[in-house]
Amino acid sequence: MRVTFTVNGRRHEADDVWEGESLLYVLRERMGLPGSKNACEQGECGSCTVRLDGESVCACLVAAGQVEGRDVVTVEGLADQASRRATDGRGTTAADEQRWAPQPAADAGVPLSPVQQAFIDAGAVQCGFCTPGLLVAADELIEHNSRPSDGDIREALSGNLCRCTGYEKILDAVRLAAARTDQSEAQQGEAV
């Protein structure tokens, strides 16, 4: 079957999709977007977390056919999404995502999103396999809650397994990203 949906603001089409293929398989193997990771393919580890119409989901548990006509944001689109969110000064909606211009972050020289930069700065990346899913989940948390408590962070990320870090530096990174986001929003508020 043919499946058409929007990924990181760009319309994508995949042909000859077998009915059993997951969104994760189509992203990774048919659309050249392997950033979402295949650690368990059973919805337990969160490494394939993407936003589907704004909601965080495990892409391995979503059948590709279910995504027809919908909007997906993956780790590859995080930087672009964050820069737009910063410009607009509000959360991203599905309508925002549809308006995005198709520009991969690295090519366009878009700076990393606050949560991406914080993961590097705090030492939250070791092997990095869990990182894309954690970034998407943490980005959603901070979008809704710019001053999360440690308990909030732990709850929001409890569906994302990491085997390398012991999570301490992931907590550091999310605290850092939230603080930076909160600060820049406050500055924007003053400017207005």
Binding site: W18, G20, R28, E29, G32, L33, P34, G35, K37, N38, A39, C40, E41, Q42, E44, C45, S47, T74, V75, E76, L78, A79, A105, A106, L112, Q116, Q117, F119, I120, D121, G123, V125, Q126, C127, G128, F129, C130, T131, P132, L135, S149, G151, I153, R154, E155, L157, S158, G159, N160, L161, C162, R163, C164, T165, G166, Y167, E168, K169, I170, L171
Partner: protein
């Protein structure tokens, strides 16, 4: 960073160049990893690529009567189906003993053993074709424990063994046995005021790295093969692959692709040979990616162990003797079982001085899943048992458990049971003191001041049971426990352990830049960060490129045994020093008349892109000295030699270096439901020298958390018939961020003068003491004996 620093005085390079050793520089692969662009082995793609799939045995022990692949071959989209009969050359592989068939021949020895492989144009087509292969099995009685392995009617799992351990084992189902005897245990037992003897058990832990086994094999025009692979040791994979493929080693080229964690599970080969064989058979690139279910069958696990320990002590708490027997279940194939036995035996006494010992460790061949390397490598199992013994002994003596440990703690100069002297700092007592001195976490942290949550002042996320909302503090008791451990660093027992680094210095874009090329497997630990730091320190440049790891440079050895910063870091340092000498020689030849320092005989250094004198005076710019010259060196670095342990007495200079960590665990237990919340897990560790403090602490926290997992949740369950019951992340649980507590870390830096920069391997020691500390805290909370890990709810409620 607390702790005394004693760095060897010969190190004067790198005091001013930014981004050198001792700084928390950031990962060079960090940006790629947060944007999703970093190419892991499962992300690879090639034009015209096929997908490989493995058919595995549903039985743990069976004879293969026949294999019929005709239906599978007829499936549209299938390019190749291979069985044992299709193997072109050598049929077996293995790290030390080549006892494992690439594809099973006439017998399968464990549940999940590879029997056949398929290549097709879609992974689902390959899976469906594999399911059409008809294998006729005749089940055989499984060997599942010591009794069934060595009893009178035990089936011999590997008849006709000719490996070098075969002559000294009492039964062919024993892979290796290592005794250690020292002193006079019988006489010491007579003098003991208190004797504590108990049996302990450690379950089978899985490394559970997140990036599944995967790789891409591409047939080359020269008849060779290029394999892009996630592994821990490129060269040892190549050396096992070449004979199986029937190719000379130089035709088998391996390149490291992104590795999603390892922890020992990538020491043995998994899909390497299968992908290469299918690629050679079809003439097309072949990719194999395991899913999580297959991953549980695709790599070795930590040896489950049964341990019996006896300690005798005087009334005032001085250890007089120790005896122990450690039986490790090696499963169906040898993997690294012999080395795990050596570690378990030689580290079985822990970081304590005990003059009289009688030690025995052995590994069995069984029909259980093969076991081999996992972080801690034989020392984890022993540490759980000897630390439980320390607590029991302290209880018997009415002593403080930390005081008892400190009283018997080894220090520099101590003799190990092997007769080897500990000839570098061994701050065992000090790390215990430090971890005990850390502030305690506040009581009842779940009593939240945030009254908005559910209208109560309880934050269930901080309680046992967590979001399951099983208690609001009723039945919850707190406990505190301590443990300390000792781990060897580097390959032991006479192994020729070396690493190679190629370092190049040249002018590019108007500045002097370095390139470091090694075959070191970056598995997440941060070796690439540290190599760049070393090059900056030694060559005084800021621009350092890390070349992708491959087999076009000499071996780096394994990313195992906490050895890579010591070994490949040591090789990078050594090659940099040779490059530096050549640069200075160039300067003397070209510029001797320009500055008296060139010929003055005083020390010249490379700092901040300049040649400077010991007192910091600039002599020349590095770009001028280099000109068009490209200075390159490729050198090998070896640690000092070790020797094998004597097969009867266990005596010998077996290890290179030791690493010590101590933990204090604070837990809260819901005694009614048997649920445990680890509230805090503090660690103090001596690292010799923290080359990258951020990464060092990250290693300690990660290792600590894997120890927590073994303490309270992680175990592969294997039925008596050898079937694996929980091969999924639904049923094999690893700690989530809600299960993992705050992990404060106190790092000591007491230099080991034998090691580069005085450093000490970091990665494994924290995995050892974490487990017994958590269990000690649970015992402290509940008063239960708890002689087995993982501790499960039924062990705490008496319902097991």
């Amino acid at each position: 960073m607390a702790g005394a620093t004693r760095v060897p005085t010969t190190i004067t390079q790198g005091t001013t160049t930014k981004g050198g050793i001792g700084e928390s520089t950031l990962r060079p692969d960090g940006t790629l990893k947060v944007t999703g662009e970093f190419a892991y082995s499962s992300d690879l793609w090639h034009e015209d690529m096929l997908w490989g799939c493995t058919l595995r045995s549903p039985y743990s022990h069976a004879e293969i009567r026949s294999v019929d692949v005709s239906e599978a071959l007829k499936t549209p989209g299938v390019y190749s189906v291979m069985t044992h009969d299709d193997l072109p050359a050598e049929t077996n592989f293995g790290l030390e003993i080549h006892d494992q068939p690439v594809l099973a021949k006439d017998r399968v020895r464990y549940h999940g053993e590879a029997v056949a492989i398929v290549a097709a144009d879609h992974p689902e087509t390959a899976r469906r074709a594999a399911a059409k292969i008809r294998v006729e099995y005749a089940e055989l009685p499984p060997v599942h424990d010591e009794m069934s392995a060595t009893g009178p009617d035990a089936p011999v799992l590997h008849p006709g063994r000719d490996d070098h351990h075969a002559p000294h084992v009492a039964h062919p189902n024993i892979v290796h046995r290592q005794p250690i005897v020292r002193g006079d245990v019988a006489a010491a037992r007579e003098r003991a005021d208190v004797v504590v003897r108990h049996d302990y058990e450690v379950g089978m832990q899985d490394q559970a790295f997140l990036g599944p086994e995967s790789g891409l094999a591409v047939p080359a025009e020269d008849g060779g093969i290029d394999l892009y692979i996630a592994t821990q040791w490129l060269h040892v994979d190549r050396d096992q692959l070449a004979p199986v493929l029937g190719l000379p080693a130089d035709k088998v080229r391996l390149t490291l692709s992104g590795v999603g964690g390892a922890f020992g599970a990538r020491e043995d080969m998994s899909m390497q040979a299968h992908a290469c064989l299918l690629a050679m058979a079809t003439g097309k690139p072949v990719k194999i990616v395991y899913n999580r279910y297959e991953s549980f069958f695709g790599h070795v696990h930590r040896h489950p162990a049964k341990l019996t320990y006896e300690h005798g002590a005087t009334r005032d708490g001085k250890l007089l003797y120790m005896t122990c027997r450690i039986v490790l279940d090696g499963g169906a194939y040898a993997s690294s079982s012999p080395a795990v036995v050596g570690n378990a035996a030689s580290l079985s006494v822990g970081p304590y001085v005990v003059d009289n010992v009688d030690i025995e460790a052995l590994a069995l061949y069984t029909n259980n899943p093969p076991c081999g390397a996992m972080r801690g490598f034989g020392a984890v199992q022993a540490c759980f048992a000897y630390e439980a013994q320390m607590d029991r002994l302290a209880e018997e003596l009415g002593m403080d458990p930390v005081e008892l440990r400190q009283k018997n703690a080894m220090s520099q100069g101590a003799l190990l049971p092997t007769g080897q002297q500990v000839d570098s700092p061994a701050p065992v007592s000090e790390i215990l003191r430090r971890v005990k001195a850390m502030p305690m976490p506040p009581e009842k942290q779940w009593q939240s001041s945030d009254a908005t949550r559910g209208g109560t002042d309880v934050d269930v996320r901080a309680l046992p049971g967590g979001l399951s909302n099983t208690t609001h503090g009723e039945g919850v008791v707190r406990g505190v426990g301590y443990a300390v451990g000792i781990k060897n660093v580097g390959f032991s027992e006479g192994f020729d352990d070396y690493s190679t680094a190629r370092v190049r210095l040249e002018v590019a874009g108007g500045e002097a830049v370095a390139m470091v090329h090694t075959a070191m497997a970056e598995v997440g630990q941060g070796g690439v960060t540290v190599h760049a730091q070393i090059a900056r320190t030694e060559l005084g440049v800021s621009g350092v490129t890390i070349h992708p790891a491959d087999t076009q440079v000499g071996s780096a050895g394994s990313t195992s045994a906490s050895r890579q910063t010591y070994m490949t870091g040591g090789a990078v340092k050594k090659s940099c020093e040779a490059v530096r000498e050549r640069v200075l020689q160039l300067g003397r030849e070209r510029f001797a008349s320009h500055h008296p320092a060139w010929t003055g005989g005083g020390e010249l250094l490379l700092e901040g892109g300049k040649v400077v004198t010991g007192s910091g005076e600039v002599v020349a710019a590095l770009v001028d000295v280099l000109g068009d010259e490209v200075v390159e060196e490729e050198l090998e670095f070896r640690h000092r030699p070790t020797e094998a342990f004597d097969l009867k007495t266990g005596q010998g200079f077996g290890h290179v270096q030791y690493s010590f960590a101590a933990h204090r665990a604070v837990v809260e237990v819901d005694t009614e439901l048997g649920l445990v919340k680890v509230v805090e897990l503090a660690c103090a560790q001596d690292v010799g020298k923290a080359l990258n403090p951020l990464s060092t602490v990250g290693q300690i926290q990660g290792g600590t958390t894997q120890g927590l997992g073994l303490a309270v949740m992680e175990e592969i369950l294997v039925d008596p018939d050898g079937k694996v019951r929980n091969p999924s992340f639904t049923d094999y649980l690893i700690p989530t961020i809600l299960d993992t507590p705050t992990i404060p870390v106190d790092v000591l830096e007491l230099a080991d003068e034998h090691a580069p920069y005085g450093l000490r391997g970091v990665g494994e020691a924290p995995t050892l003491s974490s487990t017994p500390a958590v269990v000690a805290a649970i015992r402290n909370a509940t008063g239960l004996a708890l002689k087995r890990v993982p501790v499960r709810p039924e062990h705490l409620t008496g319902t097991s």
